[in-house]
């Protein structure tokens, strides 16, 4: 990892650790205040625990023009971005993070081209719905590896990341704690429940948290929809197209709508927020990713709306192209953040458990000493 980013994060964390006013905002500060010195692993963990809610920046007495020049959300965002690169597998793909916008665009163009070509060349003789344009076998042949290989790559990344942040054998309740925190986006609540600072300086709102939740839950519903289709196909011999009152549609349509609304909202908020409180160089790639996710859901909904018409021949390759790009780039785009963040939340649950075991920590003792 880049030493200059680590050094800057360390400098800032040491100042924060002598202040501690932000203790209540999120999980980063209690984790930070449990340490007196910060190893590279500690800093990597803090960086991935940070949800960039920015509460600490706007509450900070030491932001520029103060000579301490604190901007913890930025320092942690840049370190976070760097940590994903440092742990990406295969290592050679790390540069994709820096060019995520370009990679997504190129991925889309190539995916469209291939899928259009396949739909023309290998158009099946028979088949209903979109299987009239592309056979089920062909789709599985493309998407099964396109889904599983990136997941395997991500698995490798997370394994080395886990080592970096000092992870220990995982207990089920720690995973549960991490999932609950992510599901509620607890770290975007601001500690007081008023939400976070993002689109309008120091105003606390729920906008980012709610749009992110729409995105997360929308995505999970879409994923569940696809999974239920697979189960119906292989388990029950029921093939697509499915009617509206089928499991894939009941999950997929609301999921698609939520995902569309969530990603559009996040993109809009992103245009309002101060870029200097994140990793400025990652802004374009993040925006491209949010819009890609929007395209996945929007083209999916269009495809459903167009079923039975000739538009399917065009919309199908477009939709599948966005999905393919999304899958293939998952380990090297903003999508990776969800996996790293969840891993950090599991680690945080572990360290909090240890802190509880050693009741009188330095932090609490020191707290009684200063007033």
């Amino acid at each position: 990892m880049q030493t200059d980013l680590l050094e800057e994060a360390r400098r800032q964390a040491q100042i924060c650790n002598a202040c501690r006013y932000c203790e209540g905002y999120c999980a980063v500060f209690p984790a930070m205040h449990a340490e007196r010195a910060f190893s590279d692993g500690d800093l990597t963990q803090l960086a991935n625990l940070c949800h960039n809610c920015r509460g600490c920046y706007y509450a900070c007495q030491y932001t520029a023009p103060h000579e301490f020049n604190l901007n913890l959300p930025k320092a942690l965002a840049e370190l976070r971005q760097d940590s994903w690169k440092a742990h990406s597998w295969p290592a050679g793909f790390a540069t994709l993070f820096d060019r995520a916008g370009l990679a997504i665009t190129a991925g889309l163009v190539v995916s469209f081209a291939i899928l259009f070509w396949l739909a023309q060349v290998l158009r099946p003789e028979a088949g209903a719905g979109f299987y009239a344009y592309m056979s089920h076998g062909l789709m599985v042949a493309i998407f099964a590896p396109a889904f599983l290989l990136p997941l395997a790559a991500l698995g490798m990344s997370l394994r080395s990341f886990w080592r970096t942040i000092g992870g220990e054998p995982v207990r089920l309740e720690q995973v549960w704690a991490a999932l609950r925190s992510a599901g509620r986006m607890k770290n975007l609540e601001g500690g007081h429940g008023d939400g976070c600072n993002f689109e309008d300086e120091d105003r606390f709102t729920q906008a980012r948290r709610h749009f992110h939740q729409a995105t997360l839950w929308g995505f999970l519903l879409c994923f569940a929809s696809t999974s239920s289709g697979t189960v119906l196909h292989y388990g029950f011999g029921q093939e697509a197209p499915y009617g509206f009152f089928s499991l894939p549609k009941l999950l997929g349509v609301p999921g698609g709508v939520l995902l569309c609304a969530g990603t559009l909202g996040l993109a809009w908020l992103k245009t309002k927020a101060d870029r200097e409180l994140g990793a400025p160089s990652a802004w374009g790639g993040e925006m491209a990713f949010v819009l890609l996710l929007f395209s996945v859901s929007a083209t999916g909904l269009f495809l459903y709306a167009a079923s039975g018409t000739s538009l399917v021949s065009v919309l199908l390759p477009i939709h599948l192209g966005t999905v393919l790009t999304f899958f293939l780039l998952t380990p090297y785009t903003k999508m990776a953040h969800g996996f790293f963040r969840l891993t950090s939340l599991v680690r945080d649950a572990q360290t909090r458990r240890m802190a509880l075991q050693t009741q009188v920590s330095t932090a609490t003792r020191a707290q009684t000493w200063r007033n």
Binding site: Q14, I15, N17, A18, C19, Y21, C22, E23, G24, Y25, R36, G55, C56, Y58, A59, C60, Q61, Y62, T63, A64, P65, H66, E67, F68, G190, G191, H192, D194, D202, R203, Q359, V360, T362, T364, R365, A366, Q367, T368, W369, R370, N371
Partner: protein, 462 residues
């Protein structure tokens, strides 16, 4: 300027000023607030604060248990040594209870009680994010109420005529202008950032003092009013000062420059001589006197010496300590005479006795014998390398000299009230705090008297 004749003009931009502006605006007055600092530094010393000391009869917001008026007053009298206007103090204490819900209703958020700090979660409510979070919330609230806020706008003169403020002169980026408000609230802090003024009270030693808070509290308005005979209160030669890390910036170092290691150390002056009992009492009860002790030493500087076994007993400070494997090496880094430091440490070590009862958070009675000055607690020999050192300087928090007010926060000239002038916050805190300081009480005074001043000013204007 949008409105050169606002009904209420608030001078200052910290907690007391904002409480006054919000209260006046809620009573329907047109309010203009002038903050001398630019927006990133708005909020005066309030942005460095952390908590609010609050009386309560039962659990209230983040506060546990109860904290009675008498107990609160007793705590206050302990630190002021009786130099307290009991009538105003009781008013502030009593009113603090209704302030907490008011603060929450106006956007302030408190931290849930911190584990392991039971004694504090009973008496002090901690702001989530600290004082700047509070200041941000109040600016949002004030602006939503239509208060006109001007940054980088300094008041230079209030024209007092026949016990009434008839005109207020101000500058904004070299542009001079005048205002004719119906009522004026002064909440512009003390004068501690004006080192020349400090030097007049303290002598040239004050030039070496560091100012823990805002550089914008230069006492311009305070001096202007005192010159025109507005009643003053508080000892002009007194300021609240603590010992802080000598490497702190001249201004605005705030909380992170605090050093909590003195009880586990020996402290020497530039001649490597000890000068006071480092273990006299627990640090929260002693840190305030060390500002003065260091101020009395040559060049207004002290040097803290600890060894490896004490390093983790106190909160980390913002600057890492200097470190050396030998005392002589440390002395060289600190600019102290190495032989003398060695002798001082040897004499101290020889005077240490049985240290088995050492307990870092209690008065453990582990004392030196036959040493002058003694160290009465936590006296363990300094023997274990590496050795660590910090420089200590005097950090001024606030000054006591201020405007005298009555229970309506109104200022007076001679024996008559100034018809349209009120004061709140640090600028009048000397009316209540004669000396010493009680954690979280500054914000109590600011909130209570800010609200009173805002209400009285709005009533006068209507």
């Amino acid at each position: 300027m949008h409105n050169s004749s606002p009904e209420v003009l608030v001078i200052g931009g910290g907690n007391a000023a904002l409480c006054a502006a919000i209260t006046a605006a809620e009573k329907g007055a047109s309010v203009t607030l002038l903050e001398a600092a630019p927006k990133p530094y708005r909020g005066g010393n309030s942005r460095h604060t952390r908590n609010f000391r609050c009386m309560h009869h039962g659990p209230l917001g983040p506060l546990t248990g109860s904290y009675s008026e008498d107990e609160y007053l007793e705590d206050l009298l302990k630190v002021t040594g009786g130099k307290t206007d009991e009538f105003l103090a009781r008013l502030a204490i009593r009113t603090s209870e209704e302030c907490l819900p008011w603060m929450e209703a106006h956007g302030v958020r408190f931290q849930p009680s911190l584990s392991g700090t039971l004694s504090l979660s009973r008496t002090n409510a901690f702001f989530l994010g600290g004082g700047k979070g509070l200041v941000n919330a109040y600016y949002r609230t004030a602006e939503a109420l239509g208060v006109d806020v001007y940054y980088e706008t300094s008041v230079t003169h209030l024209e007092l005529d026949d016990a009434r403020i008839v005109r207020v002169d101000a500058t904004q980026q070299d542009h001079l202008f005048s205002l004719t408000p119906k009522a004026v609230v002064v909440a512009a802090g003390g004068f501690q950032a004006d080192t020349d003024w400090l030097a007049r009270a303290w002598g040239s030693a004050a030039k070496n003092f560091l100012i823990r808070g805002t550089p914008y509290n230069r006492g311009v308005v305070l001096a202007d009013l005192l010159e025109q005979g507005v009643e003053q209160v508080g000892d002009p030669t007194q300021c609240h000062a603590v010992a802080i890390d000598g490497r702190a910036p001249k201004f605005d170092g705030g909380i992170v420059t605090r050093l909590d290691c003195v009880p586990f150390s020996i402290v020497v002056n530039k001649h490597a001589d000890r000068f006071y009992d480092e273990g006299e009492d627990v640090w929260p009860k002693r840190y305030a006197i060390w500002g003065r002790l260091v101020a009395d030493q040559p060049d207004q500087v002290g040097y803290v010496i600890i060894d490896a076994k004490s390093l983790e007993l106190f909160m980390p400070s913002v600057f890492p300590p200097l470190k050396a494997d030998t005392l002589e090496g440390l002395a060289t880094q600190l600019g102290l005479p190495p032989d003398r430091l060695r002798n001082t440490v040897n004499a101290f070590n020889a005077a240490c006795g049985d240290t088995s009862a050492f307990h870092p958070t209690e008065l453990d009675g582990v004392a030196t014998s036959g040493l002058t000055p003694p160290k009465s607690n936590w006296a363990r020999p300094i023997t274990e390398p590496p050795f660590y050192g910090y420089t200590l300087r005097t950090g001024v928090t606030f000054t006591y000299l201020g405007l005298k007010v009555d229970e309506r926060a109104q200022c007076s000239v001679g024996n008559a009230p100034v018809a349209n002038l009120w004061a709140a916050g640090e600028t009048m805190a000397g009316s209540i705090l004669g000396q010493g300081y009680l954690a979280g009480f500054g914000m109590t005074i600011g909130t209570v008297f800010g609200r009173i001043a805002g209400k009285e000013a709005a009533d006068h204007a209507n």
